[in-house]
Symmetry: C2
Subunit: 350 residues, 2 copies
């Protein structure tokens, strides 16, 4: 049967001062009225029933995730004993799917994406699962680039695989500069979204063959000893641990308006702007402003005669930066006094 | 004897969202640690003893003013029955000074100025009182312009008056455009500060001769009937009601770093900026920012990679505008929903 795994363990400081360790990006209603993780699960449901959707997060997030996902069986929200990148999480979830289902096929997505066209998303997901089953491959879905983004990884398709649009993977390129991104796009490279599909059997086989970081712990997983598996595992991403090593990789293009909502600046893409290109959320008012992003959570924010700013008011902090600098919040936080960087982090509004 | 009158009745919305009807600009610590009105009174004390400093405000401000001015006799803080511009307030205060002092000479200042050189300020004030007494004139002190400010009134000196640097007044020019301001400055015009000096006797005589707005009410004032005086008076400024009409006007130049702190943008002049020209007050942090003014009163404000902005966080509102637009806050407020414009006005922080 088909399963879906939603990776929901991210922490990240890219949405400071709104996001916190207990309320990370995937639990924020960044793109609409509901948390990204709720939209991510709902998007899957016509394809995979709730009983076969697994959500993986940290222990601290287990309760918030369950509250955000009332339609999901509570037992389907898994809490990793420790953060160990994506490969151990996916190995655990895949093993869980396979436990009572020898023919399990798994689709893997992240909890914090937005998708403009959910129908097309599900069609691509179904095609990826088909390809994984038919070709016994580890499939990655590549989004067709709409801009020379330098923050993403790219996947370069290789030789055709089967009758459809599936291809072997020629190579991966992580975070190219703008010129290389443009060259990659011209050559047909796709954004490496992190949307994957595999059969549980093939995933396990490739783990044993290519991923020593995981292989030693698999017997523990078989015994249901999750703690033991995580103790034995070495943190590694599934991209590095499996996709860059396997000869059974495949890539399938997808056009479904994928966005990883990587920073405040992304709100200009994933929310409807006004005629002057401003996006406002909460009690915000813009006058003679253009291209601004305003998130006003704990009060009122008024912008007057400014452009291309990101202004966030939350948790007792107002952040004023530019759209250009918004993706580099981490660098800003490193330059602030720690009590400020952590506030709008953990503290209460002053 | 010499008296000083401090006009402290202003309301004004130029420091929204910090200023409110009950906490207007003169009660804010805009330039230092203490309210402007406290600095204004303290600046006078070496020249005029506290018993002869009168402060005129509205009934709503009487208590806040008394609290801000603990060194002043409470009875010296006068509350006008109604707002009626500057001439009635000064007529009342002058009459009060004259009541037990036939030779009263009055210096008039505003409660919301800053003065970089208080010594020079007092020297100019003393010289203005001297001139008023010696020449029986209505004296205005003109500040030597340091920039072609278009928000100010200018006074053009005329023929010399007596032995000192006093002159007759050739004319007043209200809010010239930039080109005319430059011409005026080149021709020796001064900023019309609103710092005045007169004898009580001459002030009363000129009121009777030139200011029908006030003359009819003077007998009520003589009887101590302030209500009756204000009922009879028509609102008019002392500039229009007396200075533009009298032939006994005189102007004295003064160089004491006068600033009327007309908008948030003025904080760049009246407070010490950092090396990048930023002025921050309260819990504010600036990173790679230049020429910004930040006032953070009810939380923390962080600026990152922006320039020439004014950012004010107070009373549940964050305002983000430019230094250029800061003097035009009134126009912004007119374009905001009234509940927003009035908040950070009257409301409690949300």
């Amino acid at each position: 049967m088909r399963w879906a795994v939603v990776l929901a363990g991210g922490v990240g400081a890219r949405f400071w001062p709104v996001s916190t360790a207990r309320r990370p990006k995937q639990l924020l209603a960044l793109a609409g009225d509901r948390p990204l993780v709720a939209e991510s699960v709902e998007r899957l449901l016509p394809l995979v029933p709730a009983e076969r959707v697994l959500v993986v997060g940290s222990p601290a997030l287990q309760e918030p995730l369950r509250r955000a996902l009332p339609g999901l069986p509570a037992a389907n929200v898994l809490a990793e004993p420790r953060a160990a990148s994506t490969a151990p999480a996916l190995a655990w979830a895949t093993a869980r799917a396979a436990a009572g289902d020898g023919a399990a096929a798994v689709l893997s997505v992240h909890a914090d994406w937005t998708v403009a066209d959910p129908e097309a998303f599900r069609a691509a997901a179904a095609a990826a699962l088909d390809l994984a089953e038919r070709e016994d491959a580890l499939v990655t879905v590549g989004a067709r680039p709409t801009r020379p983004e330098i923050g993403y990884g790219y996947v370069v398709p290789g030789a055709p695989l089967g009758a459809g649009s599936g291809r072997r993977i020629a190579r991966f390129v992580e975070k190219p500069d703008a010129a290389e991104a443009a060259r990659l796009i011209a050559a047909g490279a796709l954004w490496n979204t992190g949307m994957f599909a595999w059969t549980a059997a093939r995933f396990r086989a490739e783990c044993r063959r290519h991923a020593p970081e995981l292989a030693g712990g698999l017997p523990a997983l078989d015994r249901g000893d999750v703690e033991g598996f995580y103790r034995a595992a070495t943190p590694v991403s599934v991209d590095v641990g499996l996709y860059e090593r396997t000869d059974r990789g495949a890539v399938l293009p997808g056009d479904f308006g994928w966005d990883d909502v990587g920073s405040w600046a992304a709100l200009a893409r994933v929310r409807a702007p006004d005629a002057a290109g401003n996006v406002t959320v909460g009690r915000a008012h813009v006058v003679d402003a253009a291209g601004c992003i305003v998130w006003s959570e704990d009060g009122t924010t008024v912008l007057d005669g400014v452009s291309d700013l990101v202004v966030v008011r939350a948790r007792g902090v107002t952040l004023v930066t530019t759209r250009e600098r918004a993706p580099h919040l981490k660098e800003l936080l490193a330059r602030l006094p720690s009590d400020v960087a952590e506030r709008g982090g953990e503290g209460e509004p002053r």
